[in-house]
């Protein structure tokens, strides 16, 4: 019967000691422990929540970025197209301008050449005339050095002049 016969002393000490320990733990240990666990759980929950939010924000940002990128790409394409057109335009214009200019230059060159040519020709003419006069002079001098010759010429010239008067 010893086994199922509770001892008075043990009941007394158990009630007293367990009661005191229960009181001390409930007052000083469990609130700290439970509070700590709860606080950490809340913190973890908050952190997870904020992480989720951050992830969503990043997602939004990413789609935004993509849109922006798309826009930028389109813009770039447009710009490039424009530039290409402009370039082609410019080339064409420049070509025609160059052609015109070349033509003008050639024209003016031609004119200048013509001028030069006429100038040169007249110069040549003058020089030829001068030379001819000089040669004529020299020939005359040589011819007229003889007396009969002078007379002959005189006669001839007077004959010519008389003919002209007639």
């Amino acid at each position: 019967m010893e086994l199922v016969n509770p001892g008075l002393g043990l009941i007394f000490w158990m009630t007293l000691s367990f009661g005191i320990v229960l009181f001390i733990l409930s007052k000083y240990a469990w609130p700290l422990i439970l509070g700590g666990i709860k606080e950490r759980e809340e913190e973890i929950n908050n952190s997870l929540e904020s992480a989720r939010q951050a992830r969503e924000e990043i997602k939004n940002l990413q789609s935004n970025n993509e849109q922006l990128l798309k826009q930028a790409r389109e813009e770039r394409d447009a710009l490039m197209r424009e530039a290409r057109e402009l370039k082609d335009d410019m080339i064409v214009k420049a070509k025609s301008q160059a052609d015109q200019q070349a033509k003008q230059i050639i024209e003016s060159a031609k004119a200048a050449i013509e001028q030069e040519k006429t100038a040169a020709l007249s110069d040549l003419k003058n020089q030829v005339a001068g030379l001819s006069i000089e040669i004529a002079e020299k020939l005359l001098k040589a011819e007229l050095s003889k007396e009969n010759k002078q007379k002959e010429l005189m006669d001839k010239l007077i004959g010519e002049a008389g003919q002209q008067l007639n």
Partner: protein, 398 residues
């Protein structure tokens, strides 16, 4: 690979324990005569029943080991309230329960054994070895002891108010100090490591704490009211769990069968009962006194239902008390039973003893592992049922 050294240590320990047990019981018979007191029939042969009982009940001293004539035990103070004042003396005066403590008219201890038969003992106390008060301190018939050297209980004197610091009380204090130290250090680390991941002891115990809070308290009592009961539930869970485990350690400071002691489980069940009763709301008491949904003739004129309900009220803590006590005690008895087999067979023939020891130790190891599981399960069950009772007491009418 890691398991191997652990296993060998376990086997070595078990061998050590069994051999020391063997030594103890082999020498018990001689020890009796050395004490000079002839308490008849301290078993000649090995008595498994007595051995097992000695190991699971409370004691006035903490026996650690016996080797030959040498008894190593811690004497514990005996405190008895006798006619208006407390008498205290060390249990070593009882000589391992073999001799009584005798007192004169001034309630002073007479050193019986040292001085021979005392002349004027007025009353005496001794540990009973049989009868209804077996194992307890009781008044003895002084004249019978003085004249015939026999210890006979003085039944007319009643039982002394015995508040001795027994083995279980010491074990209780050890476990409570352990619990205080552990949980204050855990509380400190919660304070120190606020919002950080748990570490060490804190992380070892946190799953249990969270489990009790979420899966026992919150589930059984309800979201709104559970918080008030969590400290109590945590305390009983860890008290029972730690003491179950300490009870499995076969030597000092473990080895006391605290949660397998009916006084301890009774107090625990009473705590649960008191908390349940105090926190019972109107709905709870209505269910007991005037159970709804039951025909009126079950309540008037014969209050049949209230009687049944009241019985249920008492049965709940009673069941709590018996379940824990029986489970833990049964586990200890089975383990000790297997160990006893070795000595029973050993007494027949030493070879048989060695042969059986292999099987017995294997079974003891298996059962000890089973007891680890039982230690946890019983702590869980006690806590869960307490929580369910609190939940029933605070349930709102719906």
């Amino acid at each position: 690979m890691i398991i191997r050294p652990v296993q060998s240590v376990l086997v070595a320990l078990l061998l050590f324990i069994t051999s020391s047990l063997f030594a103890q019981h082999a020498s018990e018979n001689e020890a009796v005569e050395h004490d000079g007191v002839s308490i008849e029939s301290h078993d000649e042969a090995f008595n498994a029943g007595n051995m097992i009982l000695e190991h699971i009940v409370d004691a006035y001293e903490w026996h650690i080991l016996t080797y030959g004539d040498f008894h190593l035990s811690i004497p514990l103070p005996i405190i008895v309230y006798h006619k208006g004042s407390f008498i205290t003396f060390l249990s070593s005066k009882l000589h391992h329960g073999h001799s009584p403590a005798l007192f004169d008219e001034n309630k002073d201890l007479i050193h019986a054994v040292e001085q021979g038969a005392p002349e004027h003992p007025v009353f005496g106390l001794a540990v009973m070895h049989e009868g209804a008060h077996k194992g307890k301190l009781a008044y003895i018939k002084v004249a019978d002891y003085v004249n015939h050297h026999v210890i006979v209980e003085d039944i007319e004197a009643g039982m002394p108010t015995d508040l001795s610091i027994t083995k279980n009380v010491v074990s209780l204090w050890i476990s409570l100090i352990l619990i205080l130290v552990i949980f204050f250090s855990v509380a400190k680390s919660y304070k120190k490591r606020k919002g950080m991941a748990p570490k060490g002891l804190q992380s070892a115990l946190e799953p249990f704490i969270v489990f009790i809070r979420d899966d026992i308290a919150k589930e059984s009592i309800g979201e709104k009211k559970y918080e008030k009961y969590v400290p109590y539930l945590l305390t009983i869970f860890f008290f029972i769990f730690f003491n179950n485990l300490l009870g499995l350690i076969p030597f000092f400071p473990g080895g006391a069968n605290l949660t397998g002691n009916i006084a301890i489980t009774m107090v625990l069940a009473l705590f649960t009962f008191i908390i349940t009763t105090v926190s019972g709301n109107k709905n709870y008491w209505t269910h007991i006194v005037n159970t709804p949904g039951v025909p009126w003739w079950l309540k008037i004129p014969m209050p049949l239902m209230p009687i049944v309900e009241l019985m249920g009220l008492i049965t709940k803590p009673f069941v709590l008390m018996v379940r824990l006590f029986a489970n833990i005690t049964a586990g200890h008895i089975i383990v000790l039973g297997f160990i006893s087999l070795i000595f029973i067979f050993g007494n027949m023939h030493p070879v048989a003893g060695y042969g059986v020891s292999i099987v017995s130790i294997a079974f003891s190891i298996f059962l000890t592992f089973l007891e680890f599981l039982v230690a946890l399960i019983q702590a869980y069950v006690f806590t869960l049922l307490s929580a369910l009772y609190f939940g029933a007491a605070t349930e709102e009418h719906h």
